[in-house]
């Protein structure tokens, strides 16, 4: 017997599994998304993020386990679920031959809405996404950032109970990405429940209230961004770009300053020293003068957490 859905939970995944040809791409994950929060799934490409999202909107039948979305079984009630979803998928899938306005109108119809009745709502969405003066432009001629913003506007047409953003800024240049983030923050203020997948740590930090880190179809950890940073790496990290003998230097620094160090990690020639006492550690290390190309004391980010949990950099599997 499936457990009854817990009130206030928009998504409940229990031991969720997805196999392709016997290979588990999502390998028994559990998570909840609460009403009104922005929940992130962070992980490199191939971690199983998009597959998880596809299961939520019914494009990928569940192999095992249970997935309840809006109190409905994702395998059986896909259409009912989709009525209440907004989806911005990874690929740009707007209608290039239609205008901005026509794109919204067609989508409104797919949701069973009469465009004439929701004219104001559509106009408000365009204004929100900073596209109000583009409504008669053909989509083909929009910039990448504008297309992405239109896709977001399109996903809000039906006032979704759950907004799914699958890598919403992948492929955008930094400027366009920041603009999209700004707009996503204003959407967040309206207390829409958001599920965001991303491999940009900055994005996860800026937008997510809570997140899971995934790799190889499994969840490595779960928490708020500050919690995860605090738990795994502490507040600061000292990066040393060593010229020679990185392993030997790592060893000697660990044995010399056991109290100042929380943890350390060596990637190539770069030694990461996680610490609660950055200033003091830097001072001490400068005295023993290791042969450094550079040294950098900075606040830790989710990237450091990820590096530690997976033993690799996110960028390493990035195939943009």
């Amino acid at each position: 017997m499936p457990e009854l859905p817990v009130a206030g939970k928009i998504i409940t995944a229990q031991n969720l599994v997805k196999r392709y040809n016997g290979k588990a791409v999502v390998d028994g994950i559990d998570f909840h998304v609460h009403r009104g929060e922005c929940f992130g799934i962070l992980g490199p490409n191939g971690a199983g993020k998009t597959t998880t999202v596809r299961m939520i909107y019914g494009l990928s039948p569940i192999s095992d386990g249970e997935l309840m979305v809006l109190d409905m079984d994702a395998n059986r009630c896909s259409r009912e679920i989709r009525k209440q979803l907004g989806v911005v998928s990874q690929d740009n899938n707007l209608d290039p031959d239609l205008t901005v306005w026509e794109n919204l109108v067609m989508f409104a119809r797919y949701y069973g809405l009469q465009p004439a009745h929701i004219r104001e709502h559509l106009q408000k969405l365009l204004t929100l996404m900073d596209l109000a003066n583009r409504s008669h432009t053909r989509v083909e001629t929009l910039s990448g950032g504008m297309k992405r913003r239109l896709a977001i506007a399109r996903s809000l047409i039906n006032n979704p109970a759950l907004l799914i953003l699958d890598e919403p800024t992948t492929g955008l240049d930094p400027q366009a990405r920041h603009l999209v983030w700004q707009q996503l923050r204003s959407i967040k203020k309206q207390k829409i429940t958001i599920l965001l997948t991303t491999h940009y740590l900055e994005e996860a930090t800026k937008l997510c209230d809570r997140l899971i880190i995934m790799d190889h179809g499994r969840i490595l950890d779960e928490g708020t961004p500050p919690e995860l940073v605090e738990k795994h790496v502490g507040p600061e990290v000292l990066e040393l770009g060593l010229k020679e003998d990185p392993a030997r230097w790592q060893e000697s620094i660990i044995s010399r300053y056991p109290k100042l160090l929380k943890d350390s990690w060596l990637l190539g020639n770069t030694l990461y020293l996680y610490t609660n006492h950055g200033g003091k550690l830097l001072q001490e290390i400068q005295e023993i003068t290791p042969p450094c190309q550079y040294h950098l004391l900075r606040a830790t980010t989710l990237e450091d957490v990820f590096l530690k949990l997976t033993g690799k950099e996110l960028g390493a599997t990035d195939v943009e």
Binding site: Y20, Y57, L59, S60, P61, I62, S63, N75, R79, R82, K83, L85, V87, S89, D91, N92, N93, L94, D95, P96, D97, L98, E102, M106, F107, R109, Y110, Y111, G112
Partner: protein
Amino acid sequence: MWNKLRSLFFRPEISLRFLLVLRRNLLVYSKFWRSSMMFNFIEPMLYLAALGLGLGIYIPEIEGMSYLEFIAPGILVSSTMWATSFECTYGSFIRLQVQKSYHAIITTPVSLDEVVLGDIAFGVFKSILYGSVILLVISMLGLVASPMALLVPLVLLLSGLVFAQLSMIWTSLAPNFEIFAYYFTLFLTPMFLFSGIFFPLENLPLIAQRLAWLTPLFHTVELCRGLVSGQMPTLYLANLLALFIFAVVLFLPPLILMRRRLVQ
């Protein structure tokens, strides 16, 4: 186990929402119809001119008609076949693979089955539209003998459905654009040449005649030539029935195959 059992039974998810997909296609088409129509119109006229007027001089008459009269209904039918087939191969494949329109639509309450049906309906629309325009033109050229010709669009609805379904099957299996050339060269072109458009099949070996019966184009040509000339073929009910059977048998395969491609 339960999921496996369930997946053996295919239950299409179909509602009138497929009309929304048709509407989307019509909206896009409303921007390009002039150039698209021209292209589909010039070709049959070239065939009529070259074969009907050029070659036709050497052919006194076939089945009591001038050669031009004989080929005109067949040319009409074949050009609807080409139009529908292009739409539901290249056209649908662009929406599927390049523009990812299918992916976008199936995140809404519209189902994949309805998207595929919407594209098939658009193929049917083109069949009827182009056929009707050419019918108008050949009637102005004095090549239509009977008012029964007004029923031609009904036949084109049925044949358009069959050609759209066949094309959609190919599209749902196609890995790339190149593969459509095989469909056109190995399937449509032989059908075009040996379905009684340019010559009656009676003089061909029996096996070729039997093969023609297995093609939707042959039956469509027979029916339309009968309606245009006013002399219905003796087996016209069988022709009609054959088209019906094609349409019914081919109803589910495109839906199943497209699901296999997109829902994984």
